[in-house]
């Protein structure tokens, strides 16, 4: 995970909002380039986070054979 405390889901949601802005009434050419750069940065962050994540697998110590 990168410095930001946001989860991957939150970052994806943020990216979706940025993408939706381009189709919204709020779209303005003056802001579009900055928004595009933000989207590119966020996408790179999501990719880095996804690639770095590892699963933590633990076999529980409890026995289930009835001999515990």
């Amino acid at each position: 995970m990168t410095q930001s405390n946001k989860t991957i889901q939150q970052k994806i949601a943020e990216l979706d909002e940025l993408v939706a802005w381009f189709d919204s009434d709020e779209f303005s050419l003056e802001l579009a380039l900055d928004k595009f750069k933000d989207a590119e940065k966020l996408a790179e962050e999501i990719e880095r986070d996804l690639t770095a994540l590892k699963n933590e697998i633990t076999v529980v110590k409890q026995r289930f054979d009835g001999n515990e």
Binding site: N55, T58, D65
Partner: protein, 366 residues
């Protein structure tokens, strides 16, 4: 009677015989066809196990009966031979399971119909799984190939999961009880996993029989944690599958259902951003066209104003031209200057000359 013969009481003889039998057959399985099956007082089960050559009585407790049994079914019993205090020889059965495709199928269908009638498989009972769980409980044998497949696919597809794995037997006599204990263990945790995954790789119908065990199926249906069950191959259907909230065709498929594929998400995220670029360029082009269109409109307005001014100027010039005295002189008229009195000299100007003339006579017009 010979002198060295051992003399025993009846009770001792029965005890010795049972001890000998236990020593000779510590654990045996007997296969045969069920006959005269009956349950007494809702607690005690009696039936005969027979084949073409003989028959032996069997006894077991109702709670040990994990599957529906009927007369005519071929079964395998795990039992201890015993001579009762009344001198009757029988098998004390610990576990019974159907044997052969026909009996397994029949037992499966009877139990399926029973549990279905109770609503255990009803679609409205099914709970959805979280789209991206963070904490998952797994019930499986960690030595099974199915578990290795599950972990491999899971690690390939996603990360950041906390997986607690309960290692249990997934086939054989004790498998259902072990799995039930594991399900109960997860359901009693202070912090519950978000999903409980129960998996086992492929095998014969006999290998997978544990997943048709009635108490296990009920434990899966009763789990507080939503369940995902992946047993055997795609064609295998167990009652545990039917009771689960979500059924996976195989352990690998369970991993696919459990988590999204990170590569797919990365591709989707890349696509979302790359799709913005044409939109951005399109917006710039639209802006440019709007600007050009407005400039064209402005230039058009200027051109129209200029044309109108030109026309007005032309008309004024025409009017002015009509007012020019030379134009009148050209038509043959003359300008007369001076006093119009007899004897005075007048100046006469025509288009071509200026001349002087003396007034000799003056008659005023009537």
């Amino acid at each position: 009677m010979e002198n060295h013969a051992v003399r025993l009481t009846v009770s001792d003889f029965i005890a010795l015989t049972n001890q000998t039998l236990e020593y000779a057959y510590p654990s045996i399985e007997v296969e045969g066809e069920v006959a005269a099956f009956k349950v007494n007082q809702g607690k005690f089960v009696f039936f005969d196990l027979k084949d073409a050559g003989g028959s032996v009585g069997c006894f077991m407790m109702v709670y040990q009966l994990r599957l529906p049994i009927e007369d005519g079914m071929k079964v395998i019993v795990a039992a201890t031979p015993k001579l009762t205090n009344w001198g009757k020889f029988s098998l004390t059965v610990r576990a019974i399971r159907p044997s052969g495709e026909g009996s397994i199928k029949k037992s499966f269908e009877i139990l399926k119909a029973k549990l279905d009638a109770e609503g255990l498989f009803a679609p409205e009972r099914k709970r959805p799984l979280p789209s991206v769980p963070r904490y998952v409980g797994v019930v499986t044998s960690t030595q099974a190939a199915g578990y290795a497949d599950f972990v491999k696919i899971l690690n390939d597809r996603w990360g950041g999961l906390k997986l607690d794995v309960a290692h249990v037997q997934v086939q054989g006599e004790s498998a259902p009880d072990q799995m039930i204990r594991a399900i109960n263990y997860f359901n009693q945790l202070e912090v519950l996993p978000e999903v409980l995954v129960i998996i086992r790789g492929g095998g014969s119908a006999d290998d997978l029989a544990a997943f048709n065990d009635e108490p296990l199926v009920r434990a899966i249906a009763a789990s507080r944690i939503p369940t995902l069950v992946g047993v055997g191959h795609e064609v295998d259907e167990s009652l545990a599958d039917l009771a689960a909230d979500v059924r996976a065709a195989t352990p690998s498929n369970a991993a696919q259902i459990l988590v999204p594929d990170r590569q797919e998400i990365i591709r989707s995220v890349r696509y979302k951003v790359s799709a913005l670029l044409p939109r951005l360029l399109q917006a710039i082009e639209t802006g440019r066209q709007t600007l050009r269109s407005r400039l064209d409109t402005a230039l058009g307005a200027i051109a129209r104003q200029t044309a109108q001014t030109d026309e007005r100027l032309f008309r004024l010039r025409q009017v002015l031209a009509q007012l020019d005295p030379n134009v009148v002189l050209k038509r043959g008229y003359a300008l007369l200057r001076g006093k119009q009195v007899v004897g005075e000299v007048l100046e006469i100007e025509t288009f071509k000359a200026i001349m002087k003339a003396k007034v000799e006579k003056y008659d005023a017009k009537q």
